[in-house]
């Protein structure tokens, strides 16, 4: 076999190993594609409790935590206690939580928020337009929007308290600079 061919195969295998190593090091919950580092898509949607509509623009200048969830989604239930704790910690500050119902029946979603202590504003997304605008693959997914209106990060899958607090505090620190 020619020397250059042997060298090409060795280099090819080495490149493949490097790519695989880098890929395995990535956090599968933190996929920085699509909408991250871009302005958050504006939306106006019906509130789940039927008390009118909610617009993202109502919360301009605040740190917004967007959480896509559904009553049929077990990981949503799993992460909910962390969301409740962190919401209670920041609800009187410049941090806003907004729940967005993902592919769920309104009555089931209402029963879910009632049973699980979800007291932050929650809206319906019956036609999926908000989910598409943010690039949601499926619930639960959480987006962190800075006071500048840019999506600073997203978390795919159930989120824990430490990640929530760290992401919120990072954005609040940036805002106070």
């Amino acid at each position: 076999m020619a020397r250059w061919l042997r060298l090409s195969i060795v280099l090819g295998v080495a490149a493949l190993v490097v790519v695989l190593m880098l890929s395995f090091r990535r956090d599968p919950h933190d996929i920085r594609t699509g909408t991250v580092n871009k302005p958050a898509a504006a939306f106006t949607a019906d509130r789940l409790d039927g008390t009118g509509t909610l617009s993202l623009s109502d919360y301009a200048g605040k740190v917004v935590v967007l959480n896509f969830f559904a009553s049929w989604c077990p990981p949503c239930k799993e992460e909910n206690p962390a969301l409740v704790r962190v919401w209670e910690r920041y609800r009187t500050s410049d941090v806003v939580f907004i729940g967005i119902v993902y592919e769920d029946a309104t009555d089931k979603a209402r029963a879910y928020v009632s049973a699980n202590g979800v007291t932050w504003p929650t809206v319906r997304d019956d036609d999926g337009r908000i989910a598409f605008a943010y690039g949601v693959f499926g619930p639960p997914e959480t987006y962190f929007i800075g006071p500048d209106g840019v999506i600073a990060g997203r978390r795919i899958g159930a989120i824990n308290e430490a990640t929530l607090v760290a992401s919120i505090d990072k954005l609040r620190a940036q805002a106070s600079r």
Binding site: L5, G34, K38, D127, A131, F137, G138
Partner: protein, 160 residues
């Protein structure tokens, strides 16, 4: 012979006509555009299914959005671009050749060229090269040619 040529000419004309007819631009209906675009978009909650082929609720919602955008007069690129803005090139079942992921189209070509290089290398190695005659063999051949020329033998094809 003339009749055969005429038949060949008619067949060629028929083929050219059929190709031209199929390639002739025609009005594409909104439904056809929706079908085309949704067949190119990946269902975001499925495994390897297009929006057109998937029965999932999210695929139905994506299709509804495409229908709406087509009705609004958006171009195909604009509609695909809206989904690419949210999901990246991943949302397209065939990655565009113009982007970084388009490098994937080069892989089969590179593999083909590499395969051909390997095959050629092997063939060259297997087929023995004709060895140059030794000085002794060369001398014997020259002597034989000279002997045959001296005999003035007739040419094999009878030309001499």
């Amino acid at each position: 012979m003339t009749r055969e040529r005429a038949l060949i000419l008619v067949a060629l004309l028929a083929i050219v006509g059929a190709v031209a007819w199929s390639a002739w631009p025609r009005e594409v209906t909104a439904a056809e555009r929706v079908d085309r675009i949704t067949s190119e978009l990946r269902c975001v909650t499925c495994q390897g299914l297009s929006v057109k082929d998937s029965p999932a609720a999210s695929a139905r919602q994506m299709r509804d959005l495409v229908v709406q955008r087509v009705a609004e007069g958006r171009t195909d690129d604009e509609i695909r671009g809206e989904f690419r803005a949210s999901y990246g090139d991943w949302v397209l079942l065939s990655p565009p050749a113009s982007s970084w992921t388009g490098l994937i189209w080069l892989v089969p070509i590179v593999a083909l060229v590499a395969g051909l290089a390997v095959v050629l290398g092997r063939v060259r190695a297997v087929v023995p090269r004709a060895a140059d005659p030794s000085p002794r063999e060369l001398a014997a051949l020259r002597e034989r040619v000279a002997r045959e020329e001296a005999l003035d033998l007739p040419q094999a094809d009878g030309a001499g």
